[in-house]
Symmetry: D2
Subunit: 340 residues, 4 copies
Amino acid sequence: MQRFALLGAGFIGSVHAANLAAHPGIDFALVYDVDPARAAAVAARHGARPAASLDEVFDPRSIDAVLIASSTDTHSEHLRRAADAGIAAFVEKPIDLDLAAARETVDHVVRSGIPAMVDFNRRFDRDHAELRRLVTEGVVGGVELVQLTSRGPASPPLDYVRVSGGQLRDQTVHFFDLARWITGEDPVEVYVAGSALADPRIDQFGDVDTSIATLRLPGGALVQIDSVRRTGYGYDERIEVMGATGLVESRRQRSGNVVRYGGAEATGDGLHAGWFERVQPTYAAALGAFVKALDEGTAPPVTLEDGLRAQAVAEAATRSLRSGRAEHVEYAASLDALAR
Amino acid sequence: MQRFALLGAGFIGSVHAANLAAHPGIDFALVYDVDPARAAAVAARHGARPAASLDEVFDPRSIDAVLIASSTDTHSEHLRRAADAGIAAFVEKPIDLDLAAARETVDHVVRSGIPAMVDFNRRFDRDHAELRRLVTEGVVGGVELVQLTSRGPASPPLDYVRVSGGQLRDQTVHFFDLARWITGEDPVEVYVAGSALADPRIDQFGDVDTSIATLRLPGGALVQIDSVRRTGYGYDERIEVMGATGLVESRRQRSGNVVRYGGAEATGDGLHAGWFERVQPTYAAALGAFVKALDEGTAPPVTLEDGLRAQAVAEAATRSLRSGRAEHVEYAASLDALAR
Amino acid sequence: MQRFALLGAGFIGSVHAANLAAHPGIDFALVYDVDPARAAAVAARHGARPAASLDEVFDPRSIDAVLIASSTDTHSEHLRRAADAGIAAFVEKPIDLDLAAARETVDHVVRSGIPAMVDFNRRFDRDHAELRRLVTEGVVGGVELVQLTSRGPASPPLDYVRVSGGQLRDQTVHFFDLARWITGEDPVEVYVAGSALADPRIDQFGDVDTSIATLRLPGGALVQIDSVRRTGYGYDERIEVMGATGLVESRRQRSGNVVRYGGAEATGDGLHAGWFERVQPTYAAALGAFVKALDEGTAPPVTLEDGLRAQAVAEAATRSLRSGRAEHVEYAASLDALAR
Amino acid sequence: MQRFALLGAGFIGSVHAANLAAHPGIDFALVYDVDPARAAAVAARHGARPAASLDEVFDPRSIDAVLIASSTDTHSEHLRRAADAGIAAFVEKPIDLDLAAARETVDHVVRSGIPAMVDFNRRFDRDHAELRRLVTEGVVGGVELVQLTSRGPASPPLDYVRVSGGQLRDQTVHFFDLARWITGEDPVEVYVAGSALADPRIDQFGDVDTSIATLRLPGGALVQIDSVRRTGYGYDERIEVMGATGLVESRRQRSGNVVRYGGAEATGDGLHAGWFERVQPTYAAALGAFVKALDEGTAPPVTLEDGLRAQAVAEAATRSLRSGRAEHVEYAASLDALAR
């Protein structure tokens, strides 16, 4: 049994809490939140205890792993404390909105040797994982063209947009990661065109809500990612990978399988109303993979370095949004750090 | 070049006329109709000549084949004249609404040795033919359960219903034929339940417009055919064949590939508005297969005997509709005739 | 909180145990099984206690409801004890393989006034329920033709087949219920053709594994149900309802949304491997509906009478399998009983 | 009856010849080709006459319209002769590979006042046209994001690539036109990333066979077009248009509607083997629209100016391929010309 403490009891913390409680190999021990009442409520719902302090959380005698779902600006600090205490860490992205700071944190954690994993939960979508399996098995031949669609149903609140780092760092970063994961290659160059169409007020932060990113991989293959904050038809996520001999697609998912025919039309279930309806099972799957790695003493399937690299792509993408030209992706500093 | 005369210049005759004119291996020579003006109009449209008389049609010096698309009560007579003149014959179903009379005509024609084919055009539907190819290749293993759906968009006029022989002889007979063709077996028993729902007036003729037929094949496999005269959603035709190791389906066809997503729904092109939109290409394909057989001196792919056997199933089905029990299908007389 | 005791700790009992434990409005108190070790194991897994005796189970001071998932031959007895104790009952189908005995039990339970529900879990399939909602709202007009497909992936063991009552009472009965539920009508007549194709040994019990049932509803609408014990392509369940103005379909469900294109083919996820993968969520949904009715003091959404009526259709269907003719469905005795 | 002469009797000329012969409102009179034998053969097949000279073709006493399907380098000259003779012209794209020369030709033709149309046949695809109709009706709200996929099954021969003007001018130009047509807006900026993956030898011409273009429309909406010369799975063309309130899609088309289920997979008809199987009906539809405009004295639905504007986008796209940055699209000279 892995003894877990949860950091953060907001919406996403609550999702993790339910998964921590349901996992048969987890002893869900503690919940910490800056708001003690919120921690107490979540803990009570799942038979865990609220933590009196962070010292109680980062105590390796009673805790084996932390799940960091607190606000973004605390991720680095919590990761460092876990590393110093020798406690495994599962962390929501991003590690730090500042890439240089994130790199320093990752260096620190890697040197500590603790198992650590960033929660790129989209990798644990059943269909995306099956698509990657087929690509990796060579079913479509050498990859030449990849398309990813990431479209949410509703614009985030302005207050969230302001601190999010922008659409590319906040939303598209999951798909930069998927592109790396599916192709096994690190993009070398990225171009982005974007507009603020659904909520023009975000333009004041230099942000966009509708964007198309084009990535070039080392061997010349191309990746296209479209990101949309607000559709009028629900949550839309799909991937297709074209190789030299075929195409494989993880199709947009319908919310059901009912269709009615009348007159000249056929009408059926559309897409999921919200991102959570589609994505929910991936949180438990990602956590399960982390626990399995802890149990077996193997490396977690998503590393902090993966987090950094997707973030490096997002940085270059954000630069391109302003420069109007393709920008090189800079991974170097991080690699140097790892080589030290 | 096969020199063709067309008998009948009504709606279906006009369809055949266009196909006769377009086929590169056919010399479309003559058109005959009881209404000379109608014959002249169709002939003029396609560069053929109206025939002055039936004697001109059944003249083997100038005509190699007749396409019989005249009214049902003339089919037998035209077939016999073709047989006597040594002219090949392509005939719309049925050969004769009276099965015994049909058997005599077929015996006569078979003895003459002329190439003859009944126009079971559904066999020439691209998807149905592909389904049969897969079944015949054993892709689903031994056939165990077959489902066929035959649903038209509009009730026929009462005047047509009165002389049609009833839904089972008029509409379902095509699917009795498909069942035989796909499975390679002759049904031994048939049960039918039916109702007059769309147009209750047809009840006065003992007819139905909504029916379900269940057929038993010699080896125990079962076939289900639902037939509907009037849907509210266009023309609906589909087949599925389940065997011991899999299922193959010729799906209901949409009229296009456009779909729109909005709110919680996805709406797209429905089925074809009418039977002709779906079935049109099969007429040319059936005719093409007949001409190919003439050119190569091989047997036409659908025989008059096929027409008789499908009709024998329709007879038993019509008896079952009244008796409320499964009825044996009687093919015997016809087989005797062939064995003479 | 409704205090539940579970009767039966076999496979399906274990499924119910997990749902009892996860439901926030249920206090999962007791587990009883003829094998005390099995009861203890299931109880331990979910924080319940094994019951020392049936007396402990049927004690209204500590138990509000029983979930009867024990062997079929105990259902009647458990239902009667629940009725006598004033404890609500949720029971797996059938109430009793002998229809007359089942009727007596239902009469007894109805007179007691306890809330009781039979677990026709297919009604709680999300897609089937949506289909029924649309039909009930009149989206397709008056119902004219219904098709239901019930196909499992594997023949049951011979030992199970022997005591199952036959395919129609064991498997198809769920779909007789769905037909009643969707149309709101009681079938008046049923014809069945069947064969033993997948496992010919079941013929010794007079049983079949491949069958087609045709039902007639009072207003003339027709229902067709095909039931298959063993497919070569997974678990296949679908429904379509045609009305005067349209069609609504609960489509066969794929196990995923991945498709690959290569050469001239497109290959994707097929159906679910087993019935449980498809049906699992419906058990929790059915239980939830029962608890909701208990909490609100309303009638459970599926009554024991529903169980009887579906069983009455199965009886007539079984008679038809032998007689080769359409058989009338006899509901009368039960109605008399209710009227007493 | 419009009297037509066909210029060019190669592959695409032959396609047009069949459509000219089949159109009831066309008198297909003449065929001209630099190879007189080729002209004679095509003319004979369709009851037309080979033209002895270009003078015979451009004679307004006997010819009302020319269909220019000769080699690209002759389009401008033939257009000018048609303009000078007062004969209507239907021309394959491009007008001239040199944009400035094309502009001069268009100015010349426009001043002449003859009806002229460029053959952007993809506009006449049934599904694309239906998609545009829905977009134009406002079904998805204001357009925000458009995706177009253009993927052929086979790399063209090197000799063709050399003179084609490159993938963007030769292949993608059809989709630049579709983007303009669907949105009703002229792109202001374009970025392209491309690679030579299927046939690296084309790199010597500075050409690519796999590319992603990103276009910005005046209001900020974005368009993405991926173009591929060689897939391993047939001909793939699809469009989706996302607006503020919904999405509409013209889906990739399957070559049939057959699917088989076996084991855990479902396998069905893939895409069309070649571009011609998919695109064939659009040639007749485009020609039909041109003839209708001639008959009714209205403007043809695709103008030469449309040809120029799509070509202007292709020019900017080709510049971007080399510069690595977004390039402005220059339409100005042409507009000036029109304003003179």
